[in-house]
């Protein structure tokens, strides 16, 4: 439809409010309480405009643009004198109590309130009285609280409570003394609390980890990056200064994480700055260090020239590095560095997602689902942002249903919430134990993985009667299957979520059967499979054998060299298995960024770049390949991307010592040629020589302070800026100044918009795609069905609980379960200790109580003993051990082990 803004015509999508309309056509209009992901509530009164009855109306009426919908032919004015004066007045009101501490405020220079103040033109203070002051609270190690700066936009509580489902942050008191905080000091309980720092339009809630090594936002060197801490692959901005990673910010991707990140993703970056980093080449059992690269190469020459060379790949290393390793050792000698079980589960996920019968659902699609079933994956803890997306699906569905009775636009948030009240869209969660997601669920049910899969097969049997040999389902299962099956059948966009962490392929197969049974003529059902690491999908797509096959390939005294890529094998595999393998190898070359149990075994240890020091591509659980770019220049260190080290070794092996410099795009081209499953991988981003009008894309904003004297202790001469030959991004502030292509957005900034709110200028419309489409390439295309319908029919037997054999499963934790994120002190503090977790009934059967010790043994492997923790709302017959975090070791997950009380 056409609307007139200040006498110019604009084409606007229907269903929007006037504020969205103005922003989507690129006009500037100040606002505070409105948030694209949270809608309108009309509290701040900042976005006032004049609306006119028709073209002859000259008087008009002042309205809040966020609270009025667009109408065809509407006349409005942003520039009207009264509207401008009112907006300026609103700022003056907000400023009556806002401290004049911009020069020392954490938010200064990236503050929405500053921007809006300048935008409205308010400059002269007429309020001559004292400001009100507050006491700040301790909110835990992640978020800093500075209430005096508050302008009462209510975004924080709307985000924390309504959007993210937290309940320990609230608004207290009234009139000009409203207070946003907790009932009393204490750690914020929501694992999505970090977003407060971006939701808050000023400096009330700020990133406490950034405060530890603070720098002005405009002095950050920034790169588009991808989160390393789970398989969802949220888009991030990595920000550096003086060789240190300072913070992680959200990078909007309309198909993935939208405006938000989880706390593991936002705060888990400190490993990059860790003292435990491997910064130099280490050659063990050799007199003296290899001080030059030449010496190193001489040392490596015989090692890589061994006839038997084995490569162990990694689910947390980039595709480029994994592929470079495969190139070095040959396809037949490349193995996934994960257990056979996990490799098998990942394979099953890929098989079902590529079957042509289901659609691999993006996070955005999950958010838009009107019915969700989660089977056998504790997504709250293994894929937190997916849990947040499920929450939005549940809440939005209820809102959409409620608003059918009363004509209310979906963006009118408060009205929708009052109408929908406690109603929720359909969500069923079938899991081994409870999680906060259960609170939203219509059905929450806890059982062993075998029984979960039986429950899921029962649903599939209900949906496709006769197709499944549906014998001996209990009455409980049959009734539950009917209730869930019916709700899914009624839905227009159901999504089925499952994953590998219950170590049971039947769970995935049954979930697939349900999804495939729900297909309609025009739509394939969305399905999401959660994996364990940031590139689990990428590694699995390479289709290599699992680790234990590597063992079989080495004969005793076979004179083999093992090259282990960014992988602490002891975390993925049982210690004896790893030891057996490493003992068989003559030489062990390890590439990694942090010291761990595996690097200790290396005869040659090469310092590998983290995501912050290198470029690479990761494939998330959706099958979306996404590129991350280097943000810390590493010219004067030995740290290199693994693929660079591996390329150098290949040059050695093939006797081409002075081989040409490799660009990562060449690796990807070769990968695309060699492996058809990676078709499209080269179009994630263009090659290193890409320019716009001959200019590269700067990583530093033009407001960057420039070079300082801080490194004059090393060299008083100004160092030459680091030249990045691997990507089209430069390590300077010079270069292309406009909105870069969506895959190459190092930071969000627009004239007059210095805060993260400037993302609106990079989007087609608020909440929409980034201009030119959201980044990432989906490798799992919705294929046409080639084969006959895939449908799994083998329903497992019911799980039988026995007193001497307990099913061993990993228990992940939303903040704690990250090998790398554990190096952030704040997250380490908030992570659980190691426990053997059992149900009250199991505790009774074992005659133990909390605090007792349990001995865990598995066919001769002694896992040691762990203190007991008793958990309500988990199924019997299972023993959980905290997994994923720093220091945890690989176990034979999914097998049945012995438990014995330690006296």
């Amino acid at each position: 439809m056409v609307i007139h803004i200040d006498n110019k015509e604009y084409n606007i999508k229907s269903g929007k409010n006037l504020l969205e309309a103005c922003l989507s056509v690129g006009l500037d209009l100040p606002y505070f309480c409105w948030h694209p992901a949270m809608g309108s509530v009309g509290a701040c009164r900042q976005c006032a405009v004049k609306v006119y009855k028709d073209e002859n109306d000259t008087k008009g009426r002042l309205v809040m643009s966020c609270m009025e919908g667009v109408k065809d032919g509407l006349y409005l004015s942003i520039e009207d004198k009264t509207a401008k004066e009112f907006r300026e007045q609103v700022i003056e009101w907000l400023m009556t109590n806002h401290p004049h501490d911009c020069p020392v405020c954490d938010e200064g220079g990236a503050c929405h309130l500053q921007d809006m103040t300048v935008m409205t033109g308010h400059d002269y203070r007429r309020f001559k009285y004292k400001k009100r002051t507050y006491t700040n609270q301790y909110l835990g190690p992640l978020i800093h609280h500075e209430m005096n700066r508050c302008i009462q936009c209510y975004r924080c509580v709307r985000y924390y409570r309504d959007y993210a489902g937290g309940d320990d942050l609230n608004v207290f008191a009234a009139h000009n003394h409203v207070y946003f905080g907790r009932e009393k000091d204490g750690v914020l309980q929501s694992p999505f609390s970090g977003n407060l720092s971006e939701v808050c339009p000023t400096g009330v809630f700020t990133d406490k980890t950034l405060k530890e090594h603070y720098t002005r936002k405009w002095d950050l060197t920034m790169s588009p990056s991808v989160c390393n801490h789970c398989s969802v692959g949220c888009n991030t901005i990595a920000a550096e200064r003086y060789g240190e990673l300072r913070c992680i910010l959200n990078r909007y991707n309309g198909d993935v994480n939208g405006y938000f990140l989880c706390d593991r993703g936002r705060f888990g970056y400190e490993f990059v700055n860790s003292e435990n980093r491997i910064k130099r080449v280490i050659i063990r059992n050799r007199a003296g260090e290899a001080s030059t690269e030449e010496e190193l190469m001489q040392h490596l020459q015989p090692l890589v020239s061994m006839s038997k060379i084995i490569g162990i790949g990694s689910p947390r290393a980039s595709l480029e590095s994994n592929f470079a390793l495969m190139q070095l050792v040959g396809k037949q000698n490349f193995y996934q560095g994960i257990s056979e079980d996990e490799a098998h589960l990942n394979r099953v996920c890929i098989d079902v997602l590529q079957s042509g019968s289901v659609h691999s659902a993006s996070l955005k699609e999950i958010e838009q689902a009107d019915a969700v079933l989660v089977v056998g994956e504790d997504i709250w803890n293994t894929a937190p942002m997916m849990a947040l997306a499920v929450r939005q699906a549940v809440v939005k569905t209820a809102g959409a249903e409620a608003s059918q009775h009363v004509q209310i636009p979906v963006w009118l948030d408060s009205a929708i919430k009052e109408l929908a009240q406690e109603d929720k869209g359909f969500l069923a969660v079938l899991n081994v134990s409870a999680s906060p997601l259960d609170e939203l669920a219509t059905h929450a049910w806890h059982a062993t993985p075998d029984d979960l899969s039986r429950a899921a097969f029962a649903i599939a049997a209900y949906l496709q009667p006769g197709k499944l040999q549906a014998d001996n389902f209990s009455e409980e299962l049959t009734n539950q299957a009917k209730a869930i099956g019916e709700a899914l059948k009624q839905a227009k966009n159901p999504v089925i979520i499952t994953g590998v962490s219950s170590y049971n392929d039947n769970v995935i197969k049954a979930a697939f059967d349900i999804a495939a049974s729900l297909n309609t003529a025009g739509r394939k059902t969305g399905m999401a499979c959660v994996m364990t690491e940031c590139n689990s999908m990428g590694l699995a797509l390479m289709d290599a054998p699992a680790f234990n096959h590597a063992m079989d390939s080495v004969r005793p005294n076979g004179h083999a060299t093992a090259v282990i890529l960014e992988n602490d094998l002891y975390r993925h595999l049982t210690p004896n298995l790893v030891d057996n393998f490493l003992n068989k190898c003559d030489h062990i070359i390890v590439l990694d960024s942090l010291h761990n149990s595996t690097t200790e075994k290396a005869s040659v240890l090469l310092p590998a770049a983290t995501f912050a020091e290198g470029d690479g591509t990761l494939v998330n659980n959706e099958g979306r390949a996404q590129r991350f770019f280097q943000v810390i220049p590493n010219a004067d260190t030995q740290v290199k991307e693994s693929w660079q080290w591996l390329w150098k070794m290949q040059m050695l092996r093939s006797q081409k010592v002075n081989g040409h410099v490799l660009h990562p795009d060449e690796l990807l081209q070769k990968m695309e040629t060699d492996m058809p499953q990676f078709k499209g991988i080269t179009s994630v981003s263009p090659g290193h020589d890409y320019t716009i009008h001959g200019e590269r894309i700067p990583r530093e904003p033009h407001r960057y302070s420039g070079r300082t004297a801080i490194q004059a202790n090393k060299n008083v001469s100004e160092p030459k800026p680091f030249y990045d030959g691997d990507s089209p991004l430069s390590f300077t502030m010079e270069g292309f100044k406009g909105v870069p292509p969506s895959w190459a957005v190092p930071f969000f900034w627009a004239p007059g918009w210095n805060s993260v709110q400037s993302v609106a200028k990079y989007q087609d419309e608020p909440n929409g795609s980034l201009k030119g489409g959201n980044p990432g390439v989906r490798l799992l295309q919705d294929k046409k069905k080639e084969n006959a319908d895939l449908f799994f029919k083998d329903v497992p037997e019911q799980f039988v609980i026995t007193k001497d054999k307990w099913l061993l499963l990993p228990k992940f934790h939303v903040l704690g379960s990250g090998e790398l994120s554990g190096y952030t002190k704040a997250l380490e503090v908030l992570s659980p200790e190691l426990f053997a977790i059992i149900s009250p009934k199991s505790a009774e059967a074992l005659n133990v109580k909390e605090g007792d010790m349990l001995q865990l043994t598995d066919a001769g492997i002694a896992y040691g003993s762990l203190p007991v923790k008793v958990l309500d709302n988990m199924c019997d017959g299972v023993v959980f051990v905290n997994a994923g975090s720093r220091g945890t070791v690989g176990m034979n997950w999914g097998t049945r082990i012995n438990l014995a009380k330690v006296n």
């Binding site: 900042q46 009101w93 009234a174 009775h405 009363v406």
Partner: protein
């Protein structure tokens, strides 16, 4: 002169169910639920011209007509009595609540019947302790007599009634803030649309009516729309409970025909000014209405005439300001109240009112300047209707803007003398 709402009220006493029935009480309920359809009740009330007595003066029949009445309407529907009487200077509902609680209950039953409500609440001001006890007892009596509960009077219609006492926030008188408070949420007003008629309490169709409005209903049903129209001496129908406070000889509240002049109410019923004091200004309908002055004394106290004189009838309870009281201090006192009672949701009200309050305090203390007058005028303009989220701040600006109009000299004197001329 008929006084249907108060004729049986004896100060200090309260009518029991039996006593109320002896005065003809609950006849209207019997008549309506047995012989009339909800639509009939709506029609009579519409025809009667009854306007809301809570302050806004909106047609009651019209308000009801927006409630979905067909079979697809969502249930439960709610009828809520707004008894959160907190407008400064207003004490009319208290008389009705304490003197004849069953009259209110009967009115609520009739309103609930008219909109086919299932559940009703009395939202009572916390400070009305006596009324709370009486209402609770009376509701129980009405249940026992079969006027409330299941299958009322054998008609198959059900209505539950509950008493809810607030915690003493002025904003709860705003009907949507009242709904939030009743749901146990912060007493913050809601956006309109959607109006409570379609999405009210717990998101269901809801009507909120004032105590006095509801108390008119039994009499309208018993005596008809024409009779009700004939009670007044103006275009607006019915009687009105008028109150007077301030330095008058007999402050109080009286039920009089709508349209009785201000002069008659103040001079005849309230006995005129206390000797030695002259009338300087009147807030005709509570603290959130514009001042009128001596020249307006002969206007009729009805919705149309008071509006024509530049103010609002509001609750119809006048606050008389005498010539020995400082208008600046008077308005400061009001602004202190409004600033404190702002819910803190929207910027202009939350930040503007405390600023206004401080300026007025400064003027009173002698530190005011001419710029302060400009700032006050700016606030009267920008805290106007539509600019704020609800009507609290616009209401707060009414006495201020009219004080600046009628008593500007007093403001100037404060600035020139650097002190309050009334205390100095």
């Amino acid at each position: 002169m008929e006084q249907p709402l108060t004729k049986h009220i004896v100060p200090g006493k309260s009518l029991s169910l039996k006593e109320y029935e002896q005065t003809g009480g609950y006849a209207a309920v019997r008549k309506a639920v047995k012989n009339a359809s909800p639509q009939d009740v709506q029609q009579i009330v519409k025809d009667s011209g009854l306007k809301g007595r809570g302050g806004a003066g909106f047609s009651t029949g019209m308000k009801w007509s927006f409630v979905p009445m067909d079979d697809s309407a969502r249930h439960p529907k709610y009828l809520i009595c707004n008894a959160d009487e907190m407008e400064p200077g207003t004490f009319k509902d208290r008389l009705l609540l304490e003197g004849n609680p069953h009259q209110l209950i009967e009115g609520m039953i009739l309103a609930a019947y008219a909109i086919k409500a299932d559940i009703s609440y009395v939202f009572l001001r916390w400070a009305y302790r006596k009324a709370a006890t009486l209402m609770q007892k009376s509701i129980e009596e009405a249940y026992a007599a079969g006027y409330l509960g299941k299958n009322i009077l054998g008609t198959g219609w059900n209505l539950e009634m509950h008493l809810h006492t607030g915690v003493g926030r002025y904003i709860c008188g705003e009907e949507t803030a009242l709904l939030n408070a009743l749901e146990g949420k912060r007493a913050t007003p809601r956006s309109k649309p959607p109006f409570p008629q379609v999405s009210g309490l717990y998101g269901k169709p809801t009507i909120v009516n004032n105590v006095e409005t509801l108390c008119c209903l039994p009499h309208i049903i018993n005596n008809g729309a024409v009779w009700f129209k004939g009670l007044s001496v103006s275009e607006d129908s019915g009687t009105k409970l008028y109150g007077v406070s301030g330095k008058v000889k007999r402050p109080g509240v009286w039920e009089l025909p709508l349209g009785t002049t201000m002069r008659e109410i103040i001079e005849d019923h309230a006995g005129g000014m206390v000797d030695g004091y002259k009338l300087k200004g009147v807030l005709p309908g509570g603290a959130s209405t514009d001042f009128l002055t001596e020249e307006h004394l002969d206007i009729k106290m009805d919705y149309i005439s008071v509006a024509a004189a530049g103010s609002r009838l509001g609750t119809g309870t006048m606050i008389v300001m005498d010539d020995a009281t400082c208008p600046v201090g008077f308005v400061h006192n009001l602004q202190h109240f409004f600033a404190q009672e702002s819910c803190g949701w929207c910027t202009p009200c939350r930040e503007g009112l405390p600023w206004v309050e401080r300026i007025l305090l400064g003027l009173e203390k002698g530190s005011g300047s001419n710029e302060d007058i400009d700032l006050l005028l700016m606030h009267t303009q920008y805290l106007g209707p539509g600019n704020t989220y609800c009507a609290l701040a616009p209401g707060a600006m009414e006495p201020l803007q009219s004080a600046l109009k009628y008593f500007k000299e007093d403001f100037i004197k404060h600035i020139e003398k650097h002190e309050c001329p009334y205390t100095g």
